[in-house]
Subunit: 249 residues, 2 copies
Amino acid sequence: MRYQAIVSYDGSNYAGYQIQPDRVTIQAVIERALEKMHQGRPVKITASGRTDAGVHAHRQVFHFDSELVIPESNWKKALNSLLPDDIVILKVKETTPSFHARYDAIKKTYQYVILNSDDPSPFEANYSTYMPIKLDISLINQACADLIGEHDFTAFCAANSYVKGDKIRTIYEANCTKDKDKLILSFTGNGFLYNMVRIIVGTLIEIGQGKRPVTDIQRIISSKDRSQAGKTAPAQGLYLNHVEYEAEK
Amino acid sequence: MRYQAIVSYDGSNYAGYQIQPDRVTIQAVIERALEKMHQGRPVKITASGRTDAGVHAHRQVFHFDSELVIPESNWKKALNSLLPDDIVILKVKETTPSFHARYDAIKKTYQYVILNSDDPSPFEANYSTYMPIKLDISLINQACADLIGEHDFTAFCAANSYVKGDKIRTIYEANCTKDKDKLILSFTGNGFLYNMVRIIVGTLIEIGQGKRPVTDIQRIISSKDRSQAGKTAPAQGLYLNHVEYEAEK
């Protein structure tokens, strides 16, 4: 039987999502919990995509196969009892045998949180990026509009990344909102290149500071040159918010 | 010169506020930073009171003496550059030589945060107490009203505590508010006994669940018997919110 699961995690104490030798990763910890449930037999999980060290997820999706006969509602309870407090399974449901968490994803939404206050907060060190600078949200939102649509995002992809196929992606939504002393940048697209959200955020921050013209996104996209975009924003402000699949998939 | 400082800290990674041999405490880390600023000379700090392991502070107050000649505005910057991200100095100002952070405090406000959602949150494990139970806020607020005033709070003091003098304290404000899926219990008083807020919260939770009558606070106060009150609520939901002093002190 194939299962689809939704997991929320605090990435602060992990070397990212994906399994790496001798590192504690989200995937490794979840697979270890599943292995315990399966009397020591390894169970591989496949997520919608990896997240980097320090990056968080509100609703990451993964799938796995199991022959265990457990009522659907007990999977979540059983897994959570074996997982640490910073990884929480929100849902486990039976799905079709052909469901694939990565290939079948049609939209992903990422959020990036900036703490835009005079003082840093000891409670936010791992959960947002502290920027005590004046940022013009209306400039950021104007620039966000230029991200929307299908573009070749080569300029917003880490130069050292290995991407199969082209770097054309479609962004459906991009905006910046304010919640008390936090700015929340939100991006929905059909896929994101390596470090793409963090490079976009780094660039938008420079636009919000007035260091770049508000029209710079278009020029950077056209350049297809990573060096034209801004700095890569730090990992700890980034959240994989949710992943969408076709209905009934 | 005597200085008054305001500090915010995330208590998750500390064995409480007060110095203990071989343990990392908030006080020890701040004193080490001050010692570095004073060319290795020890500088003792005195806070408004201690906080337990895992307890947080939004605006804890402490004082210290220093002969260093530094512009007032530079103290904060210098200290924060020497402190970890989970301890943030919000203010340092010169004060009178007689100011005492503990003896001169006239009011303290504590908050207790309960995550009252269906699922736990991986981001909240250290910052609130997860209670997926039905809690009636109006019952909690009715019971809070009985806390207000001058009472002998012996029944709400950890049985093993060593308190000098009597256990009479005055509570000025006590209430429960809701912010999305969080309940925030807030208590302002002229002083609090050891574990007093956490025992009050543990008792109010049982009242909010309907396990105790809403009038139980009066009966428990009168009993002066710790065993009549509820369980001690966990440390990680507790925040020392702020400390008040007489104006111009």
